[in-house]
């Protein structure tokens, strides 16, 4: 039970040991009864640790300039909020922060709006972090926001998009879940809503949408990780987006970012029938995936949610996969099914609805090393730009 910080070596030479409180009396008695002289050099190790934590926190807080923000690291909710402040300060004519609602536990739901003016312009919606444990998505959202802010006026394609359209980016779509992954359970997925009659917490925010609600791949069990919730849009995190997009009235694309599996998916998830725009979405996905691969060689598969899953689970009720999609056979199934955000968006008039599953394919899974954040974000960028450009060039 004692922890030697300096091991005994020769007689006459000191040794240092850390003693847990419950053993303190015993150890002192032992030393005394054997005539071993001893002094206390640190009264309370925990105190020192607490001080160290405080110093670390203070040094983090002093990094206020957005340029000093470490995009290659994972950050806490507070750090992301603080960085948002600096981004808005640094680009006041372009970036603003809106609050579209509050989470179950009362945290603000922030959306960054990138706009060069106009009113009620057509907009592209991007969300990251709907599932709490998918940390690379928040990190990619942060990097992408910086990319957009700094790229306007420099990147011709991005500039063309922003001169006509707005970009709306919700980085921490599930702040309660995200905070929980920092404080208690790194692999938490859902929201943190409580439900009468159940000791279990949380709803899968990507099964809580009204279209295909309660369908395949979601669960009615509050303890399940794919619990769809008591009713559609029961989660304030989801309702806030529903109300916002409906209220906006001019959202032309929704891109929902997840990890992991390396896929680019489009509707439908709740049925195997192809969406009316299947061909166009498929061609766009193929281009985006190709431009993504050109950066670091990372291979993504693409297709509709349901057929991409069905390629892996041939038994009924899956239909044979369509051959115009999918560069290679997917190695890993993505989030299947009913009640997903992009099925809802598509059914509500948003033609360009995509779901991205970022790195990797299972080697690290949710625990993607922070050294891979920037490679992931940089390769995802051209895919996002492809979609945004296509939307720009195909107004509806």
């Amino acid at each position: 039970q004692v922890d030697f910080w300096r091991h005994p070596t020769l007689p006459g030479h000191p040794a240092d040991l850390r003693v847990p409180l419950p053993s303190l009396q015993q150890v002192k008695l032992f030393l005394q009864s054997h005539g071993l002289s001893h002094t206390v050099i640190i009264e309370d190790v925990q105190e020192l640790l607490d001080e160290e934590q405080e110093t670390m926190l203070r040094s983090r807080r002093t990094k206020r300039s957005s340029g000093q923000f470490d995009f290659g690291s994972y950050h806490t909710l507070d750090e992301i909020h603080a960085w948002m402040d600096t981004l808005v300060e640094a680009h006041p004519g372009l970036v603003s922060r809106m609050e579209i609602g509050r989470s179950f536990e009362g945290r603000p739901l922030y959306v960054l709006k990138f706009s060069t003016g106009g009113s009620a312009r057509p907009a592209i919606w991007v969300d990251t972090g709907i599932h709490a444990r998918e940390w690379v998505t928040h990190a990619t959202g942060v990097w992408t926001a910086q990319q957009i802010a700094e790229g306007y006026g420099r990147d011709p394609a991005l500039t063309a998009v922003l001169d006509t359209m707005d970009i709306l980016l919700e980085i921490v779509t599930n702040p309660d879940g995200f905070a929980f992954t920092h404080s208690a359970n790194r692999l938490w997925r859902k929201t943190r809503s409580t439900h009468p009659g159940s000791g279990c917490v949380g709803v899968d925010p990507n099964r809580n949408w009204a279209v295909g609600f309660g369908g395949a791949g979601s669960s009615a069990d509050p303890c399940a990780d794919t619990f769809h919730g008591p009713f559609p849009h029961s989660e304030p995190e989801v309702k806030a987006i529903v109300d916002f997009i409906r209220g906006h009235g001019n959202v032309k694309a929704v891109i929902s970012i997840h990890s992991y599996s390396q896929m680019l998916l489009f509707p439908y998830g709740y049925t195997a029938a192809p969406a009316p725009d299947h061909l166009e979405l498929s061609h766009l996905a193929k281009k985006a995936v190709s431009d993504l691969a050109a950066v670091h060689g990372t291979k993504y598969t693409f297709g509709s949610i349901s057929t991409t899953i069905c390629e892996l689970h041939p038994p009924p009720p899956c239909l044979p996969p369509t051959r115009d999609g999918g560069a290679t056979v997917p190695a890993v199934p993505a989030d299947p099914a009913g009640g997903t955000s992009i099925d809802w968006a598509y059914a509500n008039g948003v033609r360009y609805s995509f779901s991205l599953e970022l790195r990797d394919t299972g080697r690290h899974g949710f625990l993607l090393p922070s050294s891979l954040i920037i490679p992931t974000a940089t390769e995802t960028w051209p895919a996002l730009l492809d979609i945004m450009l296509h939307v720009l060039e195909h107004p509806y």
Partner: protein, 178 residues
């Protein structure tokens, strides 16, 4: 391939990449037979390597000697950590868990499962009087289909000569929504 009355057979062509030497690849083929009906039987797997895997004798010996000479039994938690990092001296412990959980995943696989090792919650070395190294792990497996995180206990024995053995494993009740 649908084999009537028996099950479904899959023929796979795989390319293995050496993690320590990315330019080195070895091809291999595999046949996996999922049995009809009885979900308690692991699929039959036959693997043929087309080429040779590099010798790991030196690294194995170093790891073995290092662990055998530890005064205190090794204990570690959360590998990788929240940021995806693994301390270099714990990398072999991590790799051992990968191999061992591969066995567990195989034993618990059907055509409709997709399990991955997500994280090692805890590992404790247990010193033995024989020549084997023993590690008692609690690992978390991620089920892609249900999205659940499943805790699993496993006892792993290892020796440079004999490789990995999982001598005991048991699925734990999760704390799914606390």
């Amino acid at each position: 391939q649908d084999i009537e009355g028996v099950g479904h057979k899959y023929h796979l062509e795989l390319e293995l990449e050496d993690d320590l030497d990315k330019d080195t690849t070895v091809n291999c083929t595999a046949e996996v037979l999922y049995h009809l009906g009885n979900k308690n039987t692991a699929p039959d797997v036959q693997v043929t390597l087309e080429g040779e895997l590099k010798s790991t004798e030196e690294a194995d010996h170093m790891f073995y000697t290092r662990i055998r000479s530890l005064e205190k039994e090794l204990v570690a938690e959360n590998i990788p950590d929240s940021h995806g990092h693994v301390a270099p001296e714990l990398e072999p412990i991590h790799l051992l868990a990968w191999a061992a959980s591969g066995y567990i995943i195989w034993q618990n696989s059907t055509e409709n499962t997709q399990l991955q090792l997500a994280q090692i919650t805890q590992v404790k070395q247990v010193k033995r009087s024989d020549e084997y190294l023993q590690f008692d792990y609690v690992v978390l497996l991620h089920d892609m289909v249900s999205q659940e995180i499943i805790p699993w206990e496993m006892t792993v024995l290892w020796h440079p000569r004999d490789g990995v053995q999982v001598t005991r494993d048991s699925r734990q009740p999760g704390h799914p929504s606390g």
